[in-house]
Amino acid sequence: MNRYTRRKITEKIMFFLSVMSAFIGIVVLFLILGYVIYKGAGGLNIDFFTKLPTPVGVPGGGMVNALIGSFYLIGLASLFSIPAGILIGVYLSEFGRGPFASAVRFVSETLTGVPAIVTGIFAYSVIVIPMGRFSALAGAFALSLLMLPIITKSTEELLKMVPETLREASLALGIPRWKTIIRVVLSTAKSGIITGIMLAIARVGGEAAPLLFTAFGNSYMTWRPDQPVASLPVQLYVYAISPYEDWHQKAWASALVLMGIVLITNIVARIYARDK
């Protein structure tokens, strides 16, 4: 066998292997999706989205508290992490030189790797213990610690992709640096930054660990930030480890809803990124 044929055969084999690996990856994803739909679809009905949970043994009821609670927690977390993340990203990209900026960058990257449960413990010790109770605030704080480094990193990377010539064009028009950053640099990178934010939301939307001992959970609706609040992932966890068949069914349904939300957020983010 000459070298040419051998090379052709190697190429064919490697191509087959890589296509197979891609296929397996996708199949696993669809298996999970399919199984969750299979187990969860039966528990989905209008009540699930509109009613509060019922006590054990009482049929019916829904998870509206957890659904709203999840959005509420993410909203609260975004209030802090989006502006802070964008500002840090602007600092790192536009001004970040020298040892301080390197330190900020390093800390931010380390924060990306901190396990979710650890941010939960941290929020527990700095907010829950001093306040004396679980609260939406503590939960949102834990989530925002997860979102912050993601938003910071994506903002920094996207701003760095804005060509230097645009900044110079703006400065040369007599537009001050701060206005150049807001009106030219940020607005050029706007859609990418929004995509980054949505991916950060999708990332924390399904987290239960940071909420277990911060937001804790609540069988009722509340908008008070100093009260415990329910969330889909935590409610899913509680229902899944319970011994009741009815709750298991609801846990599957909430898993399906949670996956749906994360998936939709991801898809919207990607469509948004492509449209620019």
Partner: protein, 268 residues
């Protein structure tokens, strides 16, 4: 070389009150690398001054010192005096932002703001500073697009993205954007080096028209262009101003051997 500079100082006074810029002892650095060495030169009002020289000779750095853009690069700095209408723009009480409104700049690569429409690009410098009422903007847009010889080509595309125009149109859009701020001086940093010959001809023609209202400094790699558009030419080499004189003298009878070798194409 020092003699040439001295010879130039005489010429500097020749401009008298027609001198828009008087540059004295200008040095510029990028970190430790010195990019400009003791430049002494003047720029005459309502005239096109060309800056020529091989790559890396400091041409761009020189014009970027004239609107204080050089200092915006991290680690870059300069020393010396750049007297603009009788006032040193490097005096501590001068705000570089205000200087840049009077000394506009057009860059090598067309750089319209991609997030803005053609219309918004033209008035970018004005809306960002809130210097004009909304009702006046339509007029401003038409006026400066006409001045930049672009109006007929884009009048139906005013609300499309500026990034969708051809590169020649983009460059004229950048010129319109610069003109709209109503500067006294326009610095062109190799404005046509990324353009085709037809776009280049349009921009050169445009420059001739602008001369009566503006003072123009153009950096160019293209010696024919310098010869065509400018009244005065400065030849830079390795960060030094080798010769500065009337353009026809530089191209027909240069005083310095290096200038002669460059303009006749023996190096660079």
């Amino acid at each position: 070389m020092q003699e040439i500079n001295k010879e130039f100082r005489v010429r500097s006074s020749e401009f008298g009150d027609k001198a828009k810029f008087i540059i004295e002892g200008l040095n510029a650095w990028f970190g430790r690398n010195q990019a400009l060495k003791n430049i002494n030169m003047s720029v005459k009002q309502n005239e096109v001054t060309a800056i020529i020289g091989p790559s890396g000779c400091g041409k761009s750095t020189f014009v970027r010192c004239l609107n204080r853009l050089h200092e915006e690069i991290i680690g870059a700095r300069c020393e010396g005096r750049v007297i603009f209408d009788g006032k040193d723009i490097y005096d501590p009480d001068v705000d570089p932002v205000l200087i840049r409104r009077r000394i506009g700049m057009v860059f090598q690569k067309p750089n319209p703001f991609p997030a803005m429409t053609v219309y918004e690009n033209v008035v970018a410098g004005l809306i960002l500073e809130g210097r004009k009422k909304k009702s006046e903007l339509d007029e401003v847009v038409e006026k400066f697009l006409r001045l930049a010889a672009l109006w007929d080509e884009v009048k139906d595309k005013l609300h499309q993205s500026g990034a969708r125009l051809s590169s020649g149109q983009q460059q004229r859009l950048c010129i319109a954007r610069t003109l709209a701020v109503e500067p006294d001086v326009i610095l062109f940093d190799e404005p046509t080096s990324a353009l085709d010959p037809i776009s280049t001809a349009k921009i050169e023609e445009l420059m001739q028209g602008l001369k009566k209202d503006y003072t123009i400094v153009i950096v160019t790699h293209n010696m024919q262009q310098a010869a065509r558009v400018s009244g005065y030419t400065g030849f830079f080499l390795l960060g030094e101003l080798i010769e500065f004189d009337r353009t026809n003298k530089i191209f027909t009878n240069p005083a310095n051997r290096l200038t002669e070798e460059y303009v006749t194409g023996r190096f660079g």
